[in-house]
């Protein structure tokens, strides 16, 4: 069971109160992009064994979308943060490094 604290209303929400939204921090490839970039934007997703950044919606609650950093192996939650961010905030990254020494943020697709 996964419990994520909604950064908007502060409720520690159970997994069953949330709706998953897939990988976070995707950059949309628009009509001006190449077919390869557009395909990557639509279909290619990270599937890491370990730290993963995800989108969730507090569906049975305040209804807001937020981001969460989670370990896909242990379900350990490193933190949640508002969706109005283009990249994970520093305190979340620091928390991950503190618990997973040597981990670095992967950039790009």
């Amino acid at each position: 069971m996964l419990i994520l604290t909604c950064p908007y209303c502060g409720v520690a929400a159970d997994e069953t109160e949330l709706a998953p939204g897939g990988e976070a921090h995707l950059t949309r490839a628009g009509v001006e992009s190449s077919d390869e970039d557009f395909e990557a934007y639509l279909f290619q997703r990270k599937n890491p064994k370990g730290v993963h950044f995800e989108r969730w919606r507090h569906a049975n609650g305040c209804g807001k979308w937020f981001h969460a950093a989670r370990c896909t192996v242990t379900n350990e939650v490193f933190g949640t943060y508002p969706a109005q961010t283009l990249e994970p905030p520093k305190e979340i990254l620091d928390e991950i490094v503190a618990r997973r020494p040597g981990w670095t943020l992967e950039t790009g697709p």
Partner: protein, 189 residues
């Protein structure tokens, strides 16, 4: 105007906890900046109670303000002369960015009464929310789910919880609450 009726006609279940379907209420969904003085004044002026903080609700009888989200509150009042109340709200909110909707027909309200621990346990059988008195004190309000459907719980006092659900699932929730209150020990809290 036609007479509003509740979904289950005021059904009552009496067991380890008592479940009563309350009569229809006027409900207004108000979205906007809750720090705005005009919005606060409009809400408190209509209901006569203070604006509640996050995850809580203030009420007096049928009147109340429920904190739904960081930018949304639900105003409740008696189901009389809603048009006047709506017009009064719109007048008070004029010029302020907001969204006001009369949602009186959207939800059913159940009053669940019982001795503190039995009441909390009956509800805890249906929801993942932490209903321990420390986590869910009197005055607390939380949107969550009851079994398969979204619901909101409002701890009115130590022995009464108001449950808000969508009207279309009123019969389902009434059945759920009755079943949850039956059988087994209700003394874990």
């Amino acid at each position: 105007m036609s007479e509003p009726v509740s979904a289950l006609g005021g059904a009552v279940f009496d067991g380890a906890v008592k479940v009563t379907e309350l009569p229809p209420r006027a409900m207004f969904s108000l979205k906007g900046d809750l720090a705005s003085k005009k919005i606060v004044k409009a809400a408190t002026g209509l209901t006569g109670v203070d604006l509640p903080g996050p995850n809580s609700a203030n009420g007096a009888g049928e009147n109340g303000i429920l904190w739904m989200a960081p930018d949304e509150i639900l105003l409740m009042g008696p189901r009389t002369d809603q048009a006047t109340a709506a017009a009064r709200l719109e007048k008070a909110l004029a010029g302020t960015h907001h969204l006001l909707a009369d949602v009186s027909d959207a939800r059913s309200v159940f009053l669940v009464e019982g001795e503190g621990s039995a009441l909390r346990e009956a509800l805890a059988r249906l929801t993942p929310a932490d209903l321990h008195p420390e986590a869910f004190p009197v005055g607390a309000f939380r949107r969550t789910r009851l079994a398969q459907v979204p619901a909101a719980l409002w701890m009115r006092d130590g022995s009464a919880v108001e449950v808000l659900v969508f009207r279309s699932v009123a019969a389902y929730v009434f059945g759920l609450l009755g079943h949850a209150a039956a059988g087994g020990s209700l003394s874990h809290f």
